[in-house]
Each structure stands twice: as structure tokens, then as C-alpha cells.
Assembly symmetry: D2
Homo-oligomer: 298 residues x 4
């Protein structure tokens, strides 16, 4: 076990990801709330540090934070302590432009950067089967791949620095569009007297189905449970990144743009601190009906 790794940000995703790393590598962990890091150390045998700069002892430093803003701040603090040759791997669902700036500042001190956001949710993080989409140079990717594989099912090298974040943002934008469009369709049917639960069952064996309709609507919407595993505000942030990616290259993407606007409306009307699937309440509110199974009495 030649490598030492560090993991910054032990949130819902980062905590189990760092756990998988700790099973294979000597792993330093840091978290804003230090007790979380200590708990991780006890559970996985990682090494909890209180001083952020101590993570600079590792050859591979991971970040998994809410947005690129926090990543930039953390890099700024750790940078003076970095050894040349360190690879910084950012698993945040971040912004390609921030990533390019971060990569540039790391390059100036002889370090490399990969943006490596993940997909698969808490369950995938715990199982160590996350999909990872990586942006960066071919060479850095090859060096980091054996480390990333500790928590990954599939790892894709999708392009240069920023490309990982771009693909992730577009993926999440599609999720956002599918949530909204499926909600629109189901409330229209509900108002026409069709049971949304039955309509959904039909759609899920037909051509209109999506991950959103197959997983999120049955589990989170029809049940009215909306368990908060990924906040509406964070998905709104991803849609903003997606539209800025499109605007940057002057590509008209009217559906994506409109979906981003609708997430802003939802943040205001529903609030950002609920599960992202609660965005359907925006459309339910417009329609004056709920996406819920009809009871025989109802």
C-alpha cells in the first residue's frame, strides 16, 4: 500500500466514499465538523486531522463539497502546503469554470487536478459502485484510476479539466427536466380524472419512462415521502451550471433554460432545503392537485 490519500468533506456521499478508500489506502480525513471525522476514524481506521493543511501529506487529495465555491476556498488554504506531484481529485458536482481556475492554480505549484463527480446516490456510495465521470489529462487520469476505483463501479474519462463537471451538470439537468415534465403530465392527467399511480405504471412500461419516472416518482412522490437525500437547492445549482455551459458555447437550449428557471421558482415557492423531488409541488400548486394514488373513495 504505497499511496496515502486524503478526503475532505464527509457528507452523505463523502463519508462512505472515504470509507472505501480507507479499506485500501492510508487515508487522512478532514471535515468542517470535526466530530464527524473522528467518527470516521473510529469506524474505518482513517486518520482524522483538525488542521486542513495536514491533508497535504497525501499524494491524492479528494474533495466532496456542496459547490465549487467551497472547493476553491479549501484549495486556497491547502495550496501553500502542497508537494509537487500531488493529484487533487474533486468529486463535488462543480462548475467547469471554477475547475479550470483551480487546475491552473494547482499547475503553478506542480500539482494536477481532476474533476471527478459521481452518480449513484448514497446507496452507490455505500456499496462502492458509484459511476465516476472524470475530466483531466490522460496521464493524471491513469495515475488516479486505481485510487478512484476504490469506490467506483464504472469510471469514465470524459475529456479535459471541467468535462467531468460538465457531464455531471448535464446529467442532473436531464433529471431536472424529467422530474418537471413528468409532473406536468401527471397533474394534467389527474385533473382529467386519471389516477396518477396507474398512469405512471403505464408510462413505466412505455416510451415515456425515465429514471425519474421509474425510481423517484414511485418511491418519493406517490408516497409523498420526499426523503431529503439531495436538496432542491443543489439540483437548482446544477441546472444553473448546465445552462451556463450551453450559453458559453452559444448553443440554444430552450428546454434546459426553462427548467432552470422553474427550479428558481421552486426554490422561492417550495424552499431549497427539501428533497429535489419536491420540485413537483411547484407544478402541483399551479394545478391545484396532488400526484398521489386515488383511493376508491377519493
Amino acid at each position: 500500500m504505497a499511496n496515502r490519500v486524503a478526503f475532505i468533506g464527509l457528507g452523505m456521499m463523502g463519508y462512505p466514499m472515504a470509507g472505501h478508500l480507507a479499506k485500501r489506502f492510508e487515508t487522512i480525513v478532514w471535515n468542517r465538523t470535526a466530530t464527524k471525522a473522528q467518527e470516521h476514524a473510529r469506524q474505518y481506521g482513517s486518520q482524522a486531522v483538525q488542521n486542513l493543511q495536514e491533508t497535504a501529506q497525501a499524494e491524492f487529495i479528494f474533495t466532496c463539497l456542496p459547490t465549487s465555491v467551497e472547493v476553491e476556498e479549501v484549495v486556497r488554504q491547502v495550496l501553500p502546503a502542497l508537494k509537487a506531484g500531488t493529484v487533487w481529485i474533486d468529486c463535488t458536482s462543480g462548475d467547469p469554470n471554477h475547475s479550470r481556475r483551480i487546475a491552473q492554480s494547482l499547475r503553478e505549484v506542480g500539482c494536477d487536478f481532476l474533476d471527478a463527480p459521481v452518480s449513484g446516490g448514497r446507496a452507490g456510495a455505500e456499496a462502492g459502485t458509484l459511476t465516476v465521470m472524470v475530466g483531466g489529462s490522460e496521464e493524471t487520469f491513469r495515475r488516479a484510476l486505481p485510487i478512484i476505483e476504490a469506490f467506483a463501479g464504472k469510471v469514465f474519462h470524459v475529456g479535459d479539466v471541467g468535462a467531468g463537471h460538465a457531464v455531471k451538470a448535464i446529467n442532473n439537468m436531464l433529471l431536472a427536466v424529467h422530474l418537471l415534465a413528468t409532473a406536468e403530465g401527471l397533474v394534467a392527467l389527474a385533473k382529467q380524472g386519471v389516477d396518477p399511480a396507474i398512469a405512471l405504471e403505464v408510462i413505466n412500461v412505455s416510451s415515456g419512462r425515465s429514471f425519474a419516472s421509474e425510481v423517484h416518482f414511485p418511491e418519493r412522490v406517490l408516497t409523498r415521502a420526499f426523503p431529503n437525500t439531495f436538496s432542491l437547492a443543489l439540483l437548482a445549482k446544477d441546472t444553473r451550471i448546465a445552462v451556463s455551459i450551453a450559453r458559453e458555447v452559444y448553443v440554444p437550449t430552450p428546454l434546459m433554460q426553462l427548467a432552470a428557471e422553474m427550479f428558481e421558482m421552486a426554490k422561492r415557492q417550495i424552499g431549497g432545503d427539501v428533497d429535489h423531488t419536491a420540485v413537483v409541488k411547484l407544478i402541483e400548486g399551479w394545478a391545484g392537485t396532488e400526484i398521489a394514488p386515488r383511493t376508491k373513495e377519493g
Copy 2:
């Protein structure tokens, strides 16, 4: 075999559907181009008739035509010959309002109506595993179910007359939205230097996936094959039905409405006689790039 059935409209879907019926029931077939009906008779042992009114001998009459406009015309012609108690089952991807009018005119001569559009494509029709979404009374549904099952995998009773067409229209609208949004996302990534084939692979193991991304993009778009199994004009028609369903009940559905507008744009710019997946060319045209795998040289 107590029942006699008739099938009007031996197109890409209707031909094999009527074939499955003919294996179980005495089946009369009629088609605008009579040679097609004769071919069907030879292949499946059905009885080809030239006079549309001869279909009125059956207890169950099926229609599978391009739009509700053709169905209304056919009903108008057959109506004078109908026996009371006949059940008319319309498998067209039709319009709920037309269906309600047709049902009313049939009711006046003692006949019943079901709207029973199908999902599953040519392959499902040939395998006899179509998903069928049925609108109409519980009693009529029960009478017709054993007949419909001849070509069905799953049969859903989704509500009163028109509900089958409504669910089908919303399903197809979702397909339309997914095609457009996925195209928007992939062209934006392509312009950012990401290979659309790789981006699609990532999306298809992530939360942004849909039937469109899993089936249509790999098979029809990336290959640039666009095999014409279901025309752009017909999907545009379905999106129009979907938005009229939403407008009728005063439900704001901005994404659906915008997608319907985009299909109208595509009809004008790409043409309606191509496969529905060719709608991506509208967005490719705006971006000046194609959704195709990048070659190493490219």
C-alpha cells in the same frame, strides 16, 4: 371461438396486431389499400373485405389509423350497418375529445366504445406483447379484455372514454421532451469538447437516463440511421393532443408547451415524414454540430 372481430387499418402496427387476433378469433380485415388486406388474409387466414360496412358483422371492431380524424370518418361510414351491442375499440393514438364524440354517436345506436392505444412499437406488435391503455366503462372493458389480450403484454384500464388516449398522449409527450432535452444536453457537451457517445454512456448509468437516452440515442441518433418507424409528424400530433389536454383543465405545463412548439419548428425545418428521432436535427442545426461519436482523428 364464439367471437367475430374486425380490424380496420393494417399499417405497421395494425398488420401484426390483426395477425394475433386472427390466430384466436374469426377476423375480418379491411385496409384502404386492399392488396394489403388480401396479403393479410393469405398470411393469417383472416377474411379480407372490400366494403368497409362488412366489418359491421363483427362483435368487436378495431381501428388503428393515423389520427382520430380518420377514425371519425370510418365510424361515420360503418355506423348505419352496426348491430346494437357491438364494441368499437380504437387503438389509434387519438384525441380524447374526438373519442368522446365518437363514443356518443355509437351510444346512440346502442354500441360501446373503448379507446385503447398501444405502446411497444413494431417489435411489440409482432411479439404480441404491446402495452394497452384503455379508456371506457368498466363493463365494456371487461367484455373486451379477452380479445385485446390477443396482442397485449399488459392491459391497463386507465379511466373513462378518452383516458386511454390522454395517457398515451402524455406518454408520447414525455418521449418528445426527453428526445429534445437529451439532444440539447449532448450538443452543449459536444461543443465543449466532450464526445457525445461517451457522455451518453455515462448518462445511461446515471440519473439523467430515459427510454430515449437508453434506446433511441444509441440505436438511431449516434448511428445517424434514423429508421422511420414512427414519423416526426405523428409525434408532433401527439404533443398537440397532450398540450390541449393540459389547457382544457387549465394546468400550466410550460415544458410540455415549449416541446410542442419545438416539434412544430422541426416539422417546418426538418420535415414531418422522417423518423421522430430526427427532431434532434433541429437542435443540431442551432448548435452547428452533430450528435455522433468522435473519431480519434476528428
Copy 3:
């Protein structure tokens, strides 16, 4: 004074319009609330009738009602009493398709129809300077013109039956778009620290100005008065007519469609019984700010 006219619907617009007619012609008036008709008779010397069919004594019958639905109902009731040669002039902001149906039913009893919606508001109605946009045959238009001129500033013959309503619907749709877009712009500026009152002043001497920005925003929005002269629900109805006009001829009109959706959202969130300019509150709600002058302290 050879002609006798009748006026059905003495609302905010109809009351003064019928008053101008009464100054020139023998005028029969009918109103759902009969006391309003009696008041009109006292004020203008018109003849109030209680039985709707008594209006059939006139050669020219005017309607000015909330929607075409009410007009169709009134025509249905009066029709049996009509003399051949009567001209029915509908000043409602109506639906072209309804108008065509009404015209057809009148034609069958030898009567003619003009759709003749007006623009200019209560003030124009009182001054007798309304703009009138007329749909119908050239010959009927010529016969009715001297009568219509009693309350008109400008009278335009814009096409066949339905064309008047179509032009009116598009005009009102433009008002709807301008209200929404100007509100969007002003809240964005307000959030950027610019006083909306000053921004509006600049826009009103620049290329972004409109009737909405020059009249409605200073008088109704900045003052927060929103006097209810024309309801949000009625303008929402006009936007629905406008989009159905465009859909009917397969013309993509994405901005119009989106504006229509936004008016539906506003009806749900703000309510339909407020002045149409209160639609800005939808956008203010999304932004969390008001379009009002900033005080030095504020």
C-alpha cells in the same frame, strides 16, 4: 333616424357604448341585472326590456359580454325571434371559432354577423372614441359601419368572420407579454439595486417602451393601485384564444405560449378577480421584491 338598435350587456364597456348609440338611434337595452338597464333608460333615454327576445325588434343587435360562451347562449335564446336581415354585432373579446359557429347559425335564419371587439378601455368607451376591429363580409361591414361609428374613433375591417376576434386576441396577448417581460426586467434591475421608477423612466424614452410601460406601469404598478378595470382572468382568457389561433394554423409561437402559461400560473397564485396588471405580482413573488419607487431611506 331610420334604424333601431339593441344592446345586450351593460357592463363597464357596454354601458357607455350603448349610451352613445342611444344618442343617435332608437336603442333597446337588456342586461342580466335589470336595474342596470332601467338606469340606462333613465340616463340615456334608451328602452329597457326584460325579455331578451324583445331585442329581436332591432335591425342591429349588439352584444358585449365576458366571453363567447355567454354570447352563444344569448344568440340561442334570441334566434327564434329574429327577423331575416338582422345584423348581429358582437363587441365581446371573443373566440374566432365560436364566432364562426354563431355566424353559421345566424346565416341559417337569414341574418348576418360581425365580430367587432373594441380597444380603448372605459375611457374610450365613455368618450366614444373606441378602436373597433371588425370581422365579417364587406357588405355587412358597410351596412353596420354608420351604426358602429356612434361609439368609435377608428373602425377597421380586418377580414372575414372571426378576424376581429383574432386581431383583438393577438393585441391583448401582446399586452400580456409586455406586462410580463417588463416586470421581469424591472425586478431583475431592482434586485441589482436600480430604482424601478427610474429604470422605467429611462425605458419610456428608449426602444424598450410599450403601452404597458408607458401607461400601466406608472399608473397602476408603481402606485401599487392596480385598479380593477379589466380582470386578470379575462386577459388570461384572451391569451388562451391567441395561442389557440396560432396552434390552429401550426405556427410556432413560443413566447406567446409561455406567456399564456404564466397567466394560468398567475390565476392560481394571484387570483383571477384582480386587475390584469396585478400579474406582475407573480414575478415579484418569484423575485422576492416589489416594483415600487425606492425611497431614500428604503
Copy 4:
């Protein structure tokens, strides 16, 4: 005449603006194509310089360039030569974020910045009656006001640095929305058989009117002249600035966003080098009809 001014950028607007300044103040002019500056010197008695840094002799330096990108470059070049106390006045239709950066870099050498975009077109520039919307400190505004008044009709102080550009961008966005929405309405009416010229006449005495409908449609669209006084690409740029202003403060502005997308589509389909009013051709293309007066034969 105590002041010396400089003017950088003698384009369609800048040339006459600098002319008005030269009538009142000692005026240095610079233009990328030097012959234009020499022509200006002959016509107005200004002093043409070849070296950009010579403009630093003036106390007030004006820029009027295509975009903020060119302004930043020019400032970068002149900066080393600037005297403390100089006021830089940028009349470009620029980007507030660029302006704030420029202001910061000028502040560091003791200079002040105003963003002061103008409205009124070539005609207003020649008459010296432009509307000017100024962002910057109250004190700098007061110092510069007597200078700016040389070419202005009305001068508004709209807020801090960037506010002038923000107001201008929103104004131009409204123009963009009005052009598109009016085109949508007129093509829909044209397809319904209404003469667009007559419809426009009605709208222009009704509540749907705007600067676009009153000036641009009669003069540029109905005539099919589309004289190129302000390019489609530049208005597209302004719509991009407007939407980024709204996004920055998290304000949902769906109509503005959609209009910005439509201008990107138009750039691709119509080209950016035509007059901004030619954007109507995007919608005409979708409809398959032109906004032109109908001839009796047509």
C-alpha cells in the same frame, strides 16, 4: 472651455457623438481605422491621434465600442498613461461585470469610471438628443454631466457602476421580446388570413403597441427593407447580458431567457450581420409566411 475630452471609437454612434463634444470642448479622437479619425478632425475640428495612449491627455475619456471586451482591452492599453483624476465614460452597451472590473482597475490609479450607454439610435446621436443612462458615484456623475450633455437629450443617474449597462441591457431585452412577440402575433394572423399591415395598424392604436410595433415594423419589416443600423448579433449580445443580470440575482425571468435563446437560434439561421429587426425572419421561417402587406391579388 477648460476641459479636454477624448473619444475612442468613431462608429455609427460614436462619430456624431464625438462631433457634438468637439463643438464645445477641445476633443481628441482615436479610431481603429485611422482615416475615420482624420475625417472627423476635418469635419469637426477635433484632433485625431494615432497612438491610443495620447487620449490620456484628456480629463474625460469616452469609449463607444462594440462590446465590453474591446473596452477592457483599450483601458488596459491606456491605463499606464492616465493621470489621476481622469474620468472614463463608457458609452458602449456593455456588461455590468466587466464595468465593475474596469472601474476597479481605474480606481487603483486614482481614476473614476462611469458606464453611460445611450439610446436613440443614429438619428439621436446626430441630433445630440440621446438618452443617457449613467452608472457610477454621485460625485463623478456630477462632474461628468456637463460634458455628457453635449450629445444628450436626457441624462439619468440610475445607480452605481454597472447600473447604466444593466438598464440598457434590460431595455434592449424588452425591444428583443417585443420584436419577437409582435412577429409571432402577426404571422399567426397572416396565416389566419388577416393582412399584417392592417393588424399592425389596429395594434398601434391599441394596448398591444410598443416602440417595436410603432416604429420598427412599419419602417423596417413591412417594407422588407431591414436597413442595418444595429446588428442582430449585437442585440443578441445585449439579451445575453440581460439574462446574466437576472441569473446573477436568482430572479426567474422565463420570457427573457426564452427570447435570448431565440436570438441565438436567429444568429445561426439568419446570421448575425443583418439588422436586428431581421430576427422576425426566424418566426416567418417557422410559419412559412412573410409579414408584408397583402396585395389585392395576393
